[in-house]
Symmetry: C2
Subunit: 424 residues, 2 copies
């Protein structure tokens, strides 16, 4: 075992002990600790921004682009927002202790299945340092110890943030080791975290495809895959075309850089001509480049839509643009739309626009994605929009949690069975 | 990619297609298919026992012991029992389609979270060929395609069983590829299954510790760990000692070879003398060897209990005997019992025997196991006992499912969100 592996395991062991202390704590203690975290962030804002300036400086020297620099930068105002988000987490209901099922067996045994914390949650994340406080707050509220492994680009910021958060836990009743930074900034340290099976209960990677795939490949700790979103909108023959235009434009363009934005539009042949005649000018106005199949190119060529339409390649159907690009295909029937989705979707969110109840039932029962929207934008797949208050990520796997993960999804359960000397 | 890997992936791809067809099927179709499976097993009993005879012959030649031979052997009577178990699965409620949550957002969006099949479930199992039909039936009922990888010792039996099951699916509406055998009998073929991330949704290993650990280590497919059970019974100072004796003996001896049997007994010092004076003769009568700490040896030496008591070693506390052995330790207080459990338990099932409400609340909130029994035997942690009708295994991990896994635990969910042209 290497030194860094030993160090990471030691941190994970302390997290495990902290998790055991944290699990039985009541909501009042946890909420007071969250308030202390928020206050400390604001109070020690100067230290945090000073540390952040080092990261920003390093990023500039490395030639990082302005958008990434902006994502990395913390200002006093942004730190206030982060603190407000922590306070908002305190306002949310505590999932721990909720009875999920409960019944009495014929032999008189009382069976209750109750929510308990998962234990130790490892978060491996890229980029923005606001995730540090967000993730720590969500873990604490749900009774879990947090092991935070941010990107090396935000190392100084994360070190400062986690130092402030840990100091703030002193005297709150929540063990300080409930929030810890994974030591080291090399691949070896994140690998040690991924191999801490038995110490860490779950790993949640937050970031791009390559990060998530690396965690899935290397981890012996159970992983929840999040955030890959190649989402589709299917406009059915029976769609209200005005609503379909609104939904398609919103799903693509309202915020194109996020996982729940649409990347591919599928249009039923019967609606294609009229729908595209209305949609293409709207996409042009929104600044969206269309990657169309032959039929789309044909329809676009027949009129002046103002849209930029380029031929779609096979690669386009498999691309999560996260940009103002939309691939568009005309399909002969709903089954072809479903087959296309099955082939290319990351199973995050798919939408159908239709007034046909039959078509919507058919689509909903056959499209196997975390969220299926009927006459609504894919952009609604979000913990905030779903009313969860906050989310730790959007799961695109089927095990444990699927779709937006709020506090409830950060828990496990246990059975408590009470008898009076019962034996088999 | 090796030939066997290609073959396994081809089988998994067919399973994926079958799962897509299976997911929207209603209960009536699935139940009729299950009835057809049961009928076919009985009807073609001769073929199955003939194939089984080959396995038994091979095992005998390899010098396999009589207990293992018995576990491997299929008789017409045992096949009837297997068929009855399949029919019993048909009687259970179908979890698919159940609304887990449902509400309307302030903007009018209707959000429903509904149960859907997991998709493709891989089962890697040892020994008994009855698991083959059991697992296939539970997967089918919950709308999942089953990829079955039994042990090479039961290869001929499993080949025959799966052949019969697949033939029986013809014409039922359930795709034949919903039940498949993983090709090959080498490690390479099971490794290929473990690496089929994106094709297989979950792997459930059923067997001994080494099998489970190998699957956890090698799998990129999400795994549900099952069945390791180093279970504890803690007899508190305030226990009813008569009930405590019954529970301790039952937890150990009613069936010692299974995961929910107790391996370690912890006794509060205040109750130790009187309790052990009553327990040791009962354990002696049941044929249990006691591995005691110094205090236990002392108490045993002071009277004639008839029990075999040997000194416990450090290794004893960490051993899942699965035999008529019980390690026994006297603890000074409940916190020491909880600390012992945290150190050695596999977090399957722990029991407290007490009449103190305070002690029971304390124990329940601090012991982090899939099931915590109060005044009841550990042997009750079982899908059948819990009223689930059947179980695919007992999960000892915290993600997705914990404790006995019935049909409900073999499902995922998806969100169905219905609007009327909603955009953000």
């Amino acid at each position: 075992m290497s030194d860094i592996e030993r160090e990471v395991r030691a941190v994970a062991e302390r997290a495990r002990d902290a998790a055991a202390e944290l699990a039985p704590l009541g909501r009042a203690v946890k909420d007071a600790a969250l308030a202390a975290l928020a206050d400390a962030l604001v109070k020690r804002s100067d230290e945090i921004t000073a540390a952040n300036a080092e990261d920003v400086e390093r990023a500039r020297e490395a030639g990082t682009g302005p958008a990434m620099i902006d994502r990395l930068t913390l200002t006093p105002r942004r730190i206030e927002d982060i603190a407000d988000a922590v306070r908002a987490v305190a306002e949310l209901p505590d999932p721990v202790g909720e009875a999920v099922r409960g019944y009495v067996l014929p032999n008189g045994l009382d069976v209750r299945q109750i929510r308990v914390p998962l234990g130790v949650i490892g978060i491996v994340y890229e980029g923005r340092p606001n995730v540090t406080a967000d993730a720590a707050a969500l873990c604490l509220k749900s009774g879990n110890a947090a092991l935070l492994r941010g990107s090396s680009s935000a190392y100084s910021s994360n070190t400062a943030l986690i130092g402030v958060l840990r100091d703030a836990l002193e005297g709150t009743g929540v063990p300080v080791d409930a929030i810890q930074m994974v030591p080291g900034r090399t691949r070896e340290s994140s690998k040690a975290l991924m191999r801490a099976h038995g110490l860490v209960d779950v790993l949640i990677p937050r970031g791009g495809r390559s990060l998530i795939q690396a965690v899935v490949r290397d981890s012996t700790v159970p992983v929840i895959e999040t955030g890959e979103g190649l989402c589709h909108v299917y406009v059915d023959a029976d769609a209200d075309l005005g609503k379909a235009v609104d939904i398609a434009v919103n799903a693509k363009a309202q915020r194109c850089s996020v996982c729940n934005s649409a990347e591919t539009l599928l249009v039923h042949e019967a609606a294609a001509e009229e729908f595209l005649a209305r949609l293409l000018p709207a996409l042009a106005e929104a600044g969206v480049t269309v990657h169309g199949d032959e039929r789309v190119l044909e329809i676009a060529a027949a009129r002046d839509t103002g849209a930029t339409v380029v031929p779609a390649t096979e690669e386009d159907w498999a691309t999560e643009y996260l940009a103002m690009d939309l691939s568009v295909r005309v399909v002969p029937h709903i089954d072809e739309a479903i087959a296309h989705i099955r082939r290319y979707s990351t199973r995050h969110t798919e939408a159908i626009v239709t007034d046909s109840l039959k078509a919507s039932r058919y689509f909903v029962s056959r499209v196997d994605s975390a969220a299926v929207m009927v006459n609504a934008s894919t952009r609604f797949t979000d913990g905030g929009e779903f009313g969860f208050g906050a989310e730790i990520g959007i799961s695109t796997q089927k095990l444990h949690a699927r779709g937006p993960m709020g506090l409830t999804e950060m828990t496990s359960t246990k059975y408590v069975v009470t008898g009076d000397g019962h034996v088999r």
